[in-house]
């Protein structure tokens, strides 16, 4: 094997792939060959580095130089300057949003975005080649499996997981060890272990990134789980919209089989285990465990009431255990380093870390992993780099369509399962959407409800009809047709749906409405009573006005499709609000910033 003196790591996650990282790799390989460096420098396609905002991302080791937004044309310069002559290409090096400093002199760990993170589940993402099992093994991969199978009884494995305090990272936060205990206690000739990779929350993509960047960690953990509960077969249910993740997982499964890490008599322990991938069509409800199992069985993805819980009667009516991708990614570490180590991270009752997908109005969109108990402020301002364009922070939405909005007054709350629930939101799978002063909270609630109405499977009435009624009311409000009593109606519907819906999707669907009502009731009232959108967002509630900055250039009247603007040359023009379509074409054209919305 060649010993390379430098490694060029190119992000091959979905984000960077779509901005052309595959071409970068090609160009690097070609340029290195041309310069005769192909035996000295290795090019590696890795999983997601997390800082998707700066993609495509290239990291050069041993220096740990972080190049951002690299274009194919830039590759020649990196090769001839950095790799050949050892001079970092200053203008391509990532600039820290928070400090506005170039990171030329820093190594990766010192960059603001990474400094406060603690990457456990994402430990190998962006570090190893996900399609090379040897690199996973090099960083202690499959060591936990070996330890579990050769040194521990299934009961001991469960005890470590239980003692670690690991809770389900899919959102609800049920203790993983307890789940395993229940499944282990069920007697049956066949049991199954399932991985829920049906990541459906808008904006959340940590499961995808783990499967893309470190698929072996999930395979290893599922095998350990299989040993613990007595299952010999596993299924990964992953949505077909994640082609890169599916491809890499399949490659990883094939490699593990070839090495005998899946199959018969693993590590000579007498334990057999194998696993399969099942593709989902991307229905949100299939993230619900009973619906997911029906879908694997080939039936409609509809939930059924619990109990019976999957641990008693699950997939193919056999006892099954189902965990989320991120939960599994933590398991090998816990087995290797012990329950006490894991508990030392995070807060009591909430051990470990959580991965969040930062999105919305924030500078560093991407994937971050932080210890439980980190404050929202740290995540948004220190790691996320704050709000772009000097705007003011308004709220952050966590937990996707099942979660809620958290206003500025709770920014200093320590993030964990219980604290988020206590302020009317939830952890969820970890989507974190930041909103600034331009976001209308009524419209945000409408957006999430629109999503749930779309994704409701239709089996139970509260969810099928109730959420639609709520959406209709919200649509009316955002269109300026809100009536007195709408808020009370929304609240009554929300409580009923919460209490009576069949599955988690319906039970949590009203959360975005309830939490915005709780913290931003004044915005609802402004829409209903004053027919005004305080954030100037709801199109139908806006009036376009021309101010005295107008020079009478007539551009706006020419571009207006409705002929709503009149006036004479060199004099202030006027918009006829009855004709105005509120399309915004005039604002775009005006060179003097004379047209405003209010």
């Amino acid at each position: 094997m060649n010993l390379y003196r430098a490694h060029v790591l190119v992000c091959g996650g979905t984000g960077c792939s779509s901005s052309g990282s595959a071409q970068l790799i090609e160009r690097f390989e070609q340029q290195l060959k041309e310069k005769g460096l192909e035996k000295e420098v290795q090019v590696v396609r890795t999983g997601c580095f997390g800082l998707c905002e700066a993609g495509p991302v290239v990291i050069v080791y041993p220096e740990g130089t972080f190049y951002s937004r690299v274009k194919v044309e830039d590759v020649d310069e990196i090769v001839s300057e950095h790799l050949l002559k050892g001079r970092k290409v200053q203008h391509l090096v990532y600039v820290d949003h928070a400090t506005k400093e170039s990171t030329v002199q820093k190594s990766l760990d010192e960059v603001g975005f990474y400094k406060q993170q603690e990457r456990l589940a994402l430990r190998n993402c962006g570090v190893i080649d996900p399609e090379n099992i040897d690199e996973y093994i090099a960083f202690d991969g499959y060591k936990a499996l070996a330890k579990a199978l050769t040194e521990m009884t299934p009961e001991e494995v469960i005890k470590v997981v239980l003692d670690s305090g690991l809770r389900g990272r899919g959102g609800a936060g049920f203790p993983t060890g307890r789940k395993w205990q229940f499944a282990a206690a069920s007697k049956a000739d066949q049991k199954y272990i399932i991985c829920n990779a049906d990541e459906g929350d808008p904006g959340a993509f940590m499961d995808r990134s783990i499967l893309e960047g470190d698929p072996h960690s999930v395979i290893e953990a599922m095998t350990i789980g299989g040993y613990a509960i007595g299952a010999t077969e596993g299924y990964v249910y992953v949505r077909a919209e994640y082609p890169i993740a599916v491809g890499r997982l399949q490659t990883a499964i094939d490699q593990a089989r070839e090495y005998g890490l899946l199959g018969k008599n693993i590590f000579g322990s007498g334990f057999d285990f194998d696993m399969h991938i099942r593709l989902g069509a991307g229905a949100f409800v299939c993230g619900e465990e009973t619906a997911l199992m029906h879908s694997i069985e080939g039936m409609r993805g509809e939930p059924t009431p619990k109990p019976p819980f999957p641990a008693v009667r699950g997939l193919f009516d056999k006892p099954s255990n189902i965990n989320n991708v991120e939960t599994y990614a933590n398991i090998p570490l816990i087995i290797n380093k012990g329950a006490d180590w894991f508990k030392s991270i995070g807060t009591p009752g909430n051990s470990g870390t959580k991965v969040f997908a930062l999105g919305g109005k924030i500078n560093n969109t991407g994937l971050v992993e932080i210890p439980m108990g980190t404050s929202l402020r740290t995540v948004i301002y220190d790691i996320g780099g704050g709000i772009p364009n000097g705007k003011k922070f308004k709220a952050v939405q966590t937990g996707g369509p099942s979660g809620g909005c958290i206003p500025a007054e709770h920014l200093d709350i320590a993030i964990d399962y219980d604290s988020l629930t206590s302020i009317g939101s939830m952890m969820g799978s970890g989507g974190m959407i930041v909103m600034d002063e331009d976001n209308c909270m009524v419209d945000i609630a409408r957006f999430f409800l629109d999503f749930t109405v779309d994704e409701s499977c239709g089996k139970c009435t509260p969810c099928r009809v109730g959420t639609r009624r709520m959406l209709e009311i919200l649509e009316r409000i955002t269109e300026g047709k809100g009536e007195e009593g709408d808020i009370e109606k929304l609240e009554a519907l929300a409580e009923n749906i919460k209490a009576t819906a069949l599955c988690g999707l319906g039970q949590t669907a009203p959360n975005p409405v309830l939490s915005t009502l709780k913290y931003f009731r004044d915005e609802y009232e402004a829409h209903i009573k004053e027919k005004r959108c305080p954030a100037h967002h709801c199109q139908k509630l806006l009036n376009y006005v021309i101010t005295d900055k107008c020079r009478g250039c007539t551009l706006c009247s020419k571009v207006c499709p409705a002929g709503a603007i009149s006036g004479t040359v060199k004099e202030q023009h006027v918009i006829d609000t009855t004709k105005c379509l509120k399309c915004g074409a005039c604002i775009e054209k005006c060179r003097f910033g004379a047209i405003i919305k209010n």
Binding site: M1, L9, Y61, G86, E135, I137, G141, A146, F267
Partner: protein
């Protein structure tokens, strides 16, 4: 693969190659001057010799990297060796055949090779 030993063998073999991707604060660094002057004076074979020597001795915590010109072109090829917690030592007019001694005495045993250093040359 049937045993822990097999797994360990793969781990050790691959780690040697990719260890540099984990940040080591305890890593020793060999920095070779590779500007035009360095390259012209023969820095490339020197650097490759370092890579070769480090591989031969299985030194996990050593990285070899490059740097630009620091102005003393007449003394190139120049090599800095920075041991964790120690002052950097600069070697000048390094030739490939000097590398084995630098690695053995300085990096492995912590005793800089005085006669090759910039102090001796001045």
């Amino acid at each position: 693969m049937k045993s822990l030993a097999d797994l360990e063998a793969i781990r050790a073999k691959t780690l040697e190659n990719i260890a540099m991707r984990k940040d080591h604060n305890d890593a020793a660094r060999v920095v070779v001057g590779m500007a035009t002057c360095g390259i012209a004076a023969g820095a490339r074979p020197v650097m490759l010799q370092f890579v070769e020597e480090i591989k031969k001795r299985n030194l996990e915590h050593v990285t070899v990297s490059q740097t630009g010109c620091i102005g003393m072109c007449r003394l190139e090829p120049m090599v800095d060796v920075i041991m964790p917690g120690k002052e950097k030592v600069t070697y000048v007019k390094v030739k490939p055949e000097m590398v084995a001694r630098i690695v053995a005495e300085h990096i492995v045993n912590g005793r800089p090779v005085e006669e090759y250093t910039i102090g001796a040359a001045e």
